[in-house]
């Protein structure tokens, strides 16, 4: 008689399923309920109300406008720089290769703060002009949409650059060589061969950039809100904080969240459809030394352009923020006699929120990748190896929190947990709502990274171990784990860095005693304490740079910038 034995794998997958239900399904369905059943029964009233106010169309249009323009500028700039670094003999190639990715490490909202200090109405540039001309009229005023686009480009081009650079490095250069041998000019090769072949890669880079811009909260919060320039993410944030004035604010915010998610998905699907039709087999797998384009007389101008980008996107913003952090009182000229370390003393030793923020962010940066990777591995294993329907469903669900904008997921978390569940259990207003939200948000990294490694792992290996008498546990430990370890390590660090600098989710889920570093910087800035917020921003950037350096060392350059 055959006895049915409960497979340890299925037990684990079931456990993973329950966890995913709590982490992902519960908050997202709470959001849907709030939007479609505002008063306990099915109704579209919230949507009707959203569609009846002109300001909502304006916010929607603005979201689309700034994200689209910033996507075009970021992608053009990023793709061009990737080509320069990969395909030309520009002097200082090796340096630029790394330096051009550095802005990715500076959190976008800190970049926004720095740019305000640099070119804002009373930024360093305008201050010098006003002092020289003895006037109170600034040389230029940059605020609102164009300021948002500027900062989004500065913080967005490295993403496009990295994706396109990766594509170029793997692209088979034979076609380019053939064109060049046939006598085509540098420009012609680039226009007629490289660009069309790279189009799908550039397209997917643009998609990635667009998604990250559409869901960005920090930049429009810093540069748009003071001018009452609201985009969808800041509008939702504002609505959530209006529940005292507008009784159904949370339902409206939920409805708006669904509209934002739908908009993001439509753009994604349409572009993917379009890109899907133009796939070229350009990736040959082997890493070939590509043909280097000799820039000739353009060498110096191109190098100068690369320098300009590095200086304007890394050196100047960091210099501005450091200079402000050293200034004794805001409004004083940043000259040595006004310098002091007072702001650093304040944020590091006196301001308890900053200290707690630092501690909490470090803790979250360790806890969330660990749990996300463990859970992600189980789901990936269930989906790839056991091919069970539950496993595959979990794979899809686990990717959801990362596919929806962060503001939307955070609202789901609020709606799910601001009431008590199972008696008196609730993680609302605790450190754990942040932890749970981070894990859910970054679960996709765990699933994708481990899944990719698992797909390359042939089932025969595990079967061989099992046939030789190894138990499931042993075959898992000795065969599966060592083979997926590189994916695990890479995935862990890929979650570690964004957790350290997170703001979008934390801005909505923090509570007294449970601040994050990003929240502490943002609150200081929002409350108007610019010198202290700059000092804490310097601390935050230093922490991220150090972490990146350590990560790069530990992974031998595989992860990190």
């Amino acid at each position: 008689m055959k006895r049915r034995v409960l497979q340890p794998t299925s037990v684990l997958i079931c456990l993973a399923g329950i966890t995913v239900a709590i982490l992902v399904v519960y908050p997202l369905s709470s959001l849907m309920l709030k939007a479609f059943m505002p008063a306990g029964r099915l109704s579209l009233d919230s949507f009707r109300e959203i569609f009846s106010a002109r300001e909502n169309y304006v916010a929607f249009y603005r979201s689309m406008f700034v994200s689209s323009v910033a996507t075009v500028t970021s992608t053009v700039l990023g793709a061009f720089l990737a080509w320069v670094v990969c395909r030309t003999d520009v002097p200082g190639r090796r340096f630029f290769k790394t330096a051009l990715a550095v802005p990715l490490l500076i959190p976008p909202f800190i970049s926004a703060m720095a740019w305000l200090q640099l070119v804002g109405p009373a930024g360093y540039v305008n201050s010098i002009y006003m002092a020289v001309r003895n006037t109170w009229d600034p040389l230029f005023v940059i605020y609102g949409p164009w300021a948002i686009i500027l900062v989004m480009t500065v913080s967005g081009y490295p993403l496009a650059y990295l994706v396109v650079r990766g594509g170029l490095e793997r692209m088979n250069p034979e076609m380019e060589e053939a064109a060049q041998i046939s006598g085509a000019s540098v420009f012609k090769v680039m226009r007629d061969v490289t660009l069309p072949m790279m189009a799908p890669t550039i397209g997917s880079a643009a998609l990635l950039v667009f998604g990250s811009k559409l869901e960005n909260f920090g930049v429009p919060a810093v540069m748009g809100m003071p001018k009452n320039y609201f985009v969808m993410t800041t509008k939702i944030y504002k609505l959530i904080h209006q529940s005292f004035v507008i009784p159904n604010a949370l339902s409206l915010a939920a409805a708006m969240s669904i509209l934002l998610t739908v908009a993001a998905s439509v753009v994604l699907l349409v572009t993917r459809r379009y890109l899907g039709r133009r796939q070229y087999t350009v990736i040959s797998g082997k890493n070939v030394q590509p043909n280097i384009v000799r820039l000739g007389r353009s060498r110096r101008p191109v190098a100068a352009f690369c320098w300009l980008i590095v200086i304007t996107t890394v050196v100047l913003p960091l210099a501005a923020i450091v200079l402000t952090s050293l200034t004794k009182a805001y409004g004083l000229p940043p000259v040595p006699q006004n310098w002091s370390l007072r702001n650093f003393r304040y944020v590091l030793f006196e301001l308890s929120t900053a200290r707690r923020g630092l501690r909490n962010s470090l803790m979250l940066a360790v806890v969330s990748p660990t749990v996300a990777l463990i859970l992600g591995s189980l789901i990936a294993y269930g989906s790839v190896k056991t091919k069970s329907r539950l496993g595959q469903a979990l794979d899809v669900i686990a990717n959801m929190p990362y596919s929806v904008p962060g503001t939307v997921f955070a609202l789901g978390m609020i709606l799910a947990w601001n009431k008590t569940v199972f008696g008196s259990l609730s993680i609302y207003n605790t450190f754990w709502i942040l932890g749970v939200a981070y894990v859910a948000r970054y679960l996709a990294y765990g699933v994708r990274n481990v899944g990719a490694s698992l797909e390359q792992l042939d089932a025969s290996l595990e079967e061989a171990a099992r046939i030789s008498g190894a138990s499931w546990k042993w075959s898992f430990r000795d065969i599966v784990i060592p083979l997926v370890k590189p994916g695990l390590v890479a995935g862990w660090f890929l979650v570690f860095l964004p957790s350290l600098r997170e703001l979008t989710i934390s801005a909505l889920l923090w509570s007294p005693g449970n601040e994050t570093l990003g929240v502490a910087v943002y609150n200081l800035h929002e409350g108007g304490n610019i010198t202290a917020s700059s000092a804490l921003a310097v601390v935050m950037v230093a922490a991220v740079f150090t972490a990146n350096w350590v990560v790069k060392r530990l992974t031998k350059g595989q992860v990190g910038y």
Binding site: P121, A122, N228, I246, A249, K328, S352
Partner: protein
């Protein structure tokens, strides 16, 4: 494995510190004052830990209402700048009546007749200006100066949504025969920039803005640190915006809440606030330096009942106007 990790991590992080020793304050009082109060309160009450959630008045209220509806109030004490809202909260049964040990020393105008809340600090909404650019004849004298085209694009305002004190000021201005809603239409047309009270002040300090609606004590603080700012008392009167403190009926630590309210109203607590340039509510605590006696100062009339009843409309109308 998973749950084991979670449990281990929870232990590591020391979740569940005993709640009885924690007092939680929800407030809109600026961070430096909150920091100073935490230090002074914990020194005066060993064994008690004060935790503060500091955000704008509307953010604090939104959080409080969400918790109240969800049945889990985390805050013990609320201290925001919008005095009108306390009547609403009192009517809804959210506040707890408490006869403070200092109640008798607080003048009747600075406390609720039924003792549900006490004004714990007084602020004046005034016009601040940049002293580097604004000198002599340019120094403003009236609220009307904010609509003067000379200062186009260089004026700053808060919004009733961001600031409770500004809400009170807006209420006073729109109900004043000389101003009304057209005043805010004019300032908006004059290129007003909107920020928190302190954000406006910081912008005035850098010269990004020249004039702004600000809180007097914040100007005094910044001026003392060396920033090029000062303020004027508008001839139509400044707006007195008290910020009351109250105990929440469903707060988890009632005893701690009472200790905190007593501390804030005590001579010690009020002196601490006066050190930070805030005007005290007790007659036996001297006002901060440079502050003229409140009795002589002209204040605009505030209709508290109207403000309490029309709060939401006021915010929405202001938002629509400045969109």
């Amino acid at each position: 494995m998973l749950s084991a990790t979670v449990v281990m991590l929870m232990l590591l992080c020391g979740v569940g510190a005993s709640a009885a020793s924690n007092v939680t304050l929800y407030t809109s009082v600026p961070q430096p004052i909150v920091d100073a109060i935490i230090i002074a309160f914990e020194a005066a009450n060993p064994g008690l830990k004060l935790q503060a959630y500091r955000a704008s008045t509307s953010n604090v209220l939104a959080k409080l209402m969400a918790e109240h509806e969800g049945g889990r109030v985390t805050a013990d004490v609320i201290w925001v700048a919008d005095a009108a809202v306390y009547e609403n909260l009192k009517d809804q049964g959210i506040l707890q009546r408490y006869e403070s040990t200092h109640a008798k020393l607080i003048p009747a105008v600075y406390k609720d007749a039924d003792l549900y809340y006490y004004h714990a600090r007084l602020t004046n909404v005034v016009i601040g200006y940049n002293t580097r650019f604004i000198k002599g004849d340019l120094i403003p004298t009236s609220w009307h100066d904010l609509a003067n085209p000379k200062f186009r694009n260089k004026i700053g305002l808060s919004t009733p949504e961001r600031s409770g004190a500004f809400l009170v000021a807006a209420s006073a201005l729109v109900n004043h025969p000389e101003f009304g809603w057209s005043f805010f239409e004019k300032t908006h047309a004059n290129g007003a920039v909107y920020d928190s009270n302190n954000g406006v002040l910081q912008k005035v300090a850098t010269g990004e803005l020249l004039l702004g609606v600000v809180l007097d004590f914040q100007v005094r603080e910044m001026k003392e640190q060396g920033s090029p700012v000062d303020y004027v008392w508008p001839k139509e009167g400044a707006v007195l915006a008290p910020s009351p403190v109250a105990i929440l009926a469903k707060g988890p630590n009632q005893a701690g809440a009472r200790t905190l309210v007593d501390f804030l109203l005590s001579k010690e607590g009020q002196s601490k606030l006066a050190e930070l340039s805030v005007i005290p509510v007790r007659a036996d605590v001297p006002a901060p330096q440079g502050v003229s006696s409140l009795q002589d100062a002209v204040h605009m009339k505030v209709d508290w009942a109207w403000t309490a009843a029309n709060q939401a409309t006021l915010i929405q109308r202001f938002n629509a106007l400045t969109q």
